[in-house]
């Protein structure tokens, strides 16, 4: 799980151009939206693409996003349970 969390941090920094952040500076339990990393709606769409591209997970229900994008740890748990590759 910790490896997946670190991979996710790296992928999120790259995909969302969070160049002010390093892997060490991102807390896996912090909220992704609002506080924490302060992501916006475009970032949410980018995360959906990242899930499909890197893990073969297709999110058809936008409501599901609210649940699984709570934090990187929650996202990692969802990926572990649902990844296609």
């Amino acid at each position: 799980m910790e490896k997946l969390i670190n991979d996710l941090k790296e992928q999120i920094i790259e995909a969302l151009s969070l160049e002010d952040y390093s892997v060490e500076e991102i807390n896996a339990d912090e909220p992704l939206f609002g506080e924490g990393l302060g992501l916006d709606s475009i970032d949410a769409l980018e995360l959906i693409v990242l899930l499909e591209k890197n893990y073969g997970i297709k999110l058809n229900d936008p409501e599901k996003g609210k649940e699984i994008f709570k934090s990187i740890r929650v996202l990692a748990e969802y990926i572990n349970a649902n990844r296609a590759f």
Binding site: A15, L16, S17, L18, E19, D20, G38, I42, D43, L45, E46, V49, E52, K53
Partner: protein, 215 residues
């Protein structure tokens, strides 16, 4: 007597030549950085923190930096005003982002368009970025034109000032494609008591020619 409108200040960036000029004075210079790295270096060295900068495409980064340096150095940021227009002219529109977007969708087996890139496939986005940053609620407009053209810029200025809601304008030529990213932005005002040079087609051309000839 009606006061002439004044060019209060201007900024110029040529990312290919790695230079930043404010009101004719070279204020920043590096060597051998590519366009993206140079713009990031300018941001980190001369501008306040604004993490959204990293998400912008090259065109918006260039316009954002021109506006930040212009407003900060001239002391005329005036956040939250309604009487400042933003007009940007360029030749290649959003082609840099268009090409990236095309690359992400041309292979059916690897079809992953990036929403973060897609939002920049319009050349007027840069005017919105500047307006959002400064909470300007005036007119924003983007034009496509073949090259820097002082007559055309003066016409845009005159047209904007016909609207009595506008008292000042950020008027800009911003061009970015492949290995070129070059732009100039003027702050021009018709408010009384402002110091500057009278705006004219000739003055807009003189400034540009000096910048281009100062190798």
């Amino acid at each position: 007597m009606k006061q002439e409108s004044k060019i209060i200040s201007y900024t110029y960036i040529d990312a290919e030549r790695n230079i930043v000029v404010i009101n004719g004075e070279k204020v920043f210079e590096t060597e051998n950085l590519d366009i993206k790295d140079f713009l990031t270096k300018v941001y980190k060295t001369l501008c306040d923190s604004y993490p959204k900068f990293y998400k912008m495409d090259i065109h918006c980064k260039l316009g954002y930096l021109l506006s930040e340096l212009l407003l900060e150095s001239s002391g005329n940021r005036q956040k939250g005003i309604e009487d400042r227009a933003i007009a940007v002219v360029n030749s290649s529109s959003s082609l840099c982002s268009d090409i990236k977007h095309q690359a992400s969708i041309e292979d059916n087996g690897n079809y992953f368009p990036s929403p973060a890139n897609f939002v920049y496939t319009l050349s007027n986005i840069v005017t919105g970025e500047i307006a959002i940053r400064n909470k300007y609620y005036g007119e924003t407009i983007s034009y496509i034109h073949s090259s820097y053209d002082s007559k055309y810029l003066k016409e845009i200025f005159d047209l904007s000032m016909v609207d009595e809601c506008n008292n000042s304008i950020l008027l800009s030529w911003i061009e970015s494609i492949d290995t070129t990213a070059e732009g100039i932005m003027f702050l021009i005002s018709k408010e009384e008591g402002k110091q500057g040079v009278n705006v004219s087609e000739k003055e807009l051309d003189n400034i540009w020619q000096k910048l281009k000839n100062n190798k």
